[in-house]
């Protein structure tokens, strides 16, 4: 199913026939920007394109907004990227999303381009972008280029745009019922020729990325240098889909002290950097949520100082998740590491 057919047969049709209460997808907001939008009127599908190489932030955040208090009464069709779906899975496990009335349709993802490079220009034409991205991923965000989960089978429906004919697949009964009702063809099992091709390139890039981080970030001096320009704005945290706490520990009263405490801290090392606790914030956040990090890179896109924070979180997260043979968002059944334990594990410590 081509993008044009998808827009016509799935998005437009499901609204026209009132099969859903609305669709969530990417919609242009200007020449050089787009956003997730909940569309209820067919006319407003103009400018919608789920495959556009633009990442306005992780869409799972919007699903949380939509369902946290009470999910909508009528089903909503949500078109997401695989990293957004992984965040949905994590947030569901963390009791932040209620999935009853959301139909998830996730497309294979070729990746996205850094927002800073699109700003002031134009969002590239999707078809042109895809034919380039198939050959060479150098224009992609580093996290897209090295993404090792560009397809998600945790959704209700998959749109396998990596494969010939770009077929749809139903992963769940809910997805099957929806596709049957709308009357489009779908496959029973997912072909993976195109997927494997893309995946092997991505994994190659991932290994390159980790080797580079080993050189540039690893070690106390490197680490300090890497975060030297952090302004402690916490944008990375507020744009992170996994950081859901209403009050962040690092913004709480636990970080407030009498003046003399800071003077004492300064006198120990001879000086105290302001804003304080920059490294504590990053290392602390890693300890709090890296086991659920889906490596979407919303943090990195939001960083005003261009720190490679998303790459570091992907790297650290893959390692902390590996202790528990866990992969954030891979499956509905695996419990997140910080919510459970085994009586016998991790010994000797």
């Amino acid at each position: 199913m081509t993008p044009a057919e998808f827009l016509e047969k799935i998005l437009s049709e499901s609204l026209k026939r009132d099969l859903v209460g609305g669709v969530i997808t990417l919609k242009r907001t200007s020449n050089d920007a787009a956003a997730h939008a909940l569309i209820t009127k067919v006319e407003l599908l103009e400018g919608c394109d789920p495959l556009m190489p633009y990442f306005p932030g992780n869409g799972a955040d919007f699903i949380k907004t939509l369902t946290f208090v009470r999910p909508p009464k009528k089903p909503i069709l949500a078109i997401l990227r695989p990293c957004e779906m992984r965040a949905v899975v994590e947030l569901t496990k963390l009791s932040q999303i209620q999935n009853e009335n959301i139909i998830y349709l996730v497309h294979d993802c070729y990746g996205t381009i850094p927002r800073k490079e699109i700003r002031g220009n134009e969002i590239p034409d999707t078809e042109k972008f895809i034919s380039e991205a198939r050959k060479d991923g150098s224009m992609l965000r580093p996290l897209c280029r090295s993404c090792d989960y560009p397809r998600a089978n945790t959704a209700d429906i998959g749109w396998l745009v990596f494969e010939d004919g770009e077929p749809l697949i139903a992963y769940t009964e809910k997805g099957k019922a929806f596709l049957n009702e709308i009357g489009v063809e779908f496959v029973e099992s997912a072909p993976d020729k195109g997927y494997k091709e893309i995946l092997s390139k991505r994994i190659e890039e991932k290994e390159k990325l980790y080797a580079e981080l080993e050189k540039s970030v690893k070690g106390i001096e490197n680490l300090a240098k890497n975060f030297a320009n952090c302004i402690n704005c916490h944008n990375c945290m507020s744009n992170c889909p996994i950081c859901f706490c209403r009050e962040c520990f690092f913004e709480s009263e636990a970080m407030e002290f009498e003046g003399d405490v800071f003077v004492e801290l300064a006198s120990r090392k001879g000086g105290l950097r302001a804003p304080t606790d920059v490294m504590l914030f990053h290392l602390g956040r890693m300890s709090h949520m890296s086991t659920s990090c889906v490596a979407c890179g919303a943090c990195e896109e939001a960083c005003p100082e261009d720190i490679n924070i998303g790459q570091i979180f992907k790297w650290v997260g893959e390692n902390t998740q590996s202790i528990f043979e866990y992969k954030a968002g891979r499956s509905w059944d695996e419990e997140i590491p910080l919510k459970e334990f085994r009586e016998e594990e991790l010994e000797p410590r």
Partner: protein
């Protein structure tokens, strides 16, 4: 002046802190390098406490809890074990010294084990030398 390690200890109220009392009343000797902080449970030690201690210049951090299965709150120590494993992995990945973090199970009756553990951990840290993070003002 020879290097004297500064060690921060987070000890659970029900087991390891009791063991510290027992070590004292039993007149067991152990090095005075550990600054004990009593917490209600090893599971209440947020990883950021451990990280903050090290960033501010503690040469080592030791967390003491009840033996697996003996937690006063049933499962706190199992959670602590996972959290410590995660911090250590983060430190290892980023090339920081994860050997400066230690988790030990010491029950209320193990005064001797408490004294021995404090002595051996202090010696280990003494050999590692001062914590570099404690000298870097820019962190």
């Amino acid at each position: 002046m020879p290097f004297e390690p500064k060690i921060v200890g987070f000890f659970c109220h029900w087991c390891t802190s009791m063991a510290a009392d027992l070590a004292g009343t039993s007149r067991l000797e152990y090095p005075p390098n550990v600054r004990p902080i009593r917490v209600m449970c090893s599971g209440s030690v947020d990883p950021s406490y451990v990280i903050k201690a090290l960033l501010l210049g503690a040469d080592g951090v030791i967390v003491g809890g009840c033996h697996p299965g003996d937690c006063h709150y049933l499962t706190g120590n199992y959670k602590a074990r996972r959290r410590i494993a995660i911090i250590k992995k983060i430190f290892e990945t980023l090339g920081l010294e994860h050997e400066r973090i230690h988790l030990e199970w010491i029950s209320a009756s193990e005064g001797k084990k408490f004294a021995d553990t404090m002595a051996s951990f202090t010696e280990k840290i003494r050999k590692s030398g001062p914590n570099k993070l404690g000298e870097m003002w820019e962190l």
